[in-house]
Symmetry: C2
Subunit: 320 residues, 2 copies
Amino acid sequence: MAKDYVVGIDVGGQTSKIGVVDAKGDVLAQTVIRSDEFGEDADAFISALAAAVKDCVKKAGKEGQIRGVGVGAPNGNYYTGEVAFAPNLAWAAKSAVPFAKKLSASLGGMPVNLTNDANAAAVGEMTYGAAKGMKNFIMITLGTGVGSGIVIDGKVVYGHDGFAGELGHTIVVRHNGRLCGCGRSGCLEAYCSAIGVARTAREWLEVSDEPSLLRDCLNITSKDVYDAAKQGDAVALRVFQYTATLLGEAFADFIAFSAPEAIVLFGGLARAKEFLYEPMLKAMNENVLQIWRDKVKIVFSQLKESDAAILGASALAWEL
Amino acid sequence: MAKDYVVGIDVGGQTSKIGVVDAKGDVLAQTVIRSDEFGEDADAFISALAAAVKDCVKKAGKEGQIRGVGVGAPNGNYYTGEVAFAPNLAWAAKSAVPFAKKLSASLGGMPVNLTNDANAAAVGEMTYGAAKGMKNFIMITLGTGVGSGIVIDGKVVYGHDGFAGELGHTIVVRHNGRLCGCGRSGCLEAYCSAIGVARTAREWLEVSDEPSLLRDCLNITSKDVYDAAKQGDAVALRVFQYTATLLGEAFADFIAFSAPEAIVLFGGLARAKEFLYEPMLKAMNENVLQIWRDKVKIVFSQLKESDAAILGASALAWEL
């Protein structure tokens, strides 16, 4: 039987999404499993994932017709197939897990390609989304963390060791910066992730008496900050302005590296476009070299989040 | 007659070097002209350069055997052949000069390829020098300014518009940083160029009474700081330590971008290796993500400066 279908998997800290995809990029069937219920037991997670893949393929009616599996995972390494030292994945936080090899074994030897989740999303956007037709862009994923996928001349940059594109861990506050999940201080991710936005709000409320809708929240999340901003809350609006400014300043430095046509934003926090876009663009253009002023676009993903990651991961499987 | 030779040109702020190169990378003849005697008159400089090229080809005895010319110039654009808004070149400081086109016309239509000087040096190092055999590295040129050439998968990164690799203009001091030649503040170049090193020394001496050999200098240069450090001068040694630390911190961010095998240093200031290497490596490893700690090399150019730039530029001519 012709093997005309692939499976794309988006591994996240809380859930993992599986999709069966055809050559046109249509997702024929989808499944979601939790990825935070296995503690440090990587094998248990991979077994559950393999079972979900089989279910999903069955649901799509494509048994025996799958060419291979593509996986996007935080700290996933394209060259080695490992998921290594990923702070948001308990089962891979302290070691390098040979993920592609183990998943392939659990699927009876089916070929598996793996990359990091942001790289997968970048491929998804380039093939099906906001970066269609672009050969040089930088994908920034604003989720629980801040990830990135860098595309140069139409190809994802993997670097010497497969770990290129960790722009969430460039330093935006050089001295006395906030502690980051990576163990260092002052990273972009510590300020501009969903978690960072909530931290900014909490920190600011602690040191002032300014009234804010956020004072009614027990444990402020980025969603709370978004909802408060929607209602015109001054503190919440300033939190987004601050976050956007840090992002724009960081983008100016990224542009000096690879001179992209656009910065493409993706992920839960990117939904706050209405509060982020203007101050982000302003900070970027104020901080970039003259040759790039008002020339680099900031665009927001047009794909449903789960689709972009699944489609991007599935594109890896076609390479097999 | 077979056209088995090329010309490589390194355009600098003070002098420009021309060399006739054979396919093995041997420089058969060299000429140097001043590039700071033409004010804002780009045509006059290009005419003088064309005359020097003809002389050099004659000296090498290869008239009629030149395949083309490769040029490395500050702010040179590979795609457009222009030298645009180069602060250190009076004749191209305020506009975009169609350099490749004009030089080609002055040489009777001989084909000319152009890129920025740091990219040319990167190609030179990759082909003949310290980066031989490397496919992923970042070249940092520490001269009057700080330039960079980024190589990914064996290719120089030009980006969407041909201007990629301006790492000297990433921001290392975010607020109240030093004014840079580019008109912005806090750039790596404002601190870690030869000019930046001299400025650090002058600034520090102004705000303290600490004795230093540098107090005897009328107008401190980076060479003076180097000579004083050689004699154990405490201020001069601290200036290099500070410069090296800023560089190491910046390198850590660059690594997060493209995960290179090595950072390759080149240029006049790189000669202060004995004072820069250790604190630079320390700062880089202290600031880089765990996955890269103690894994990325810092290497110093092994080519004579003029040779690297000429050879790198000449490599562009072979593409013609």
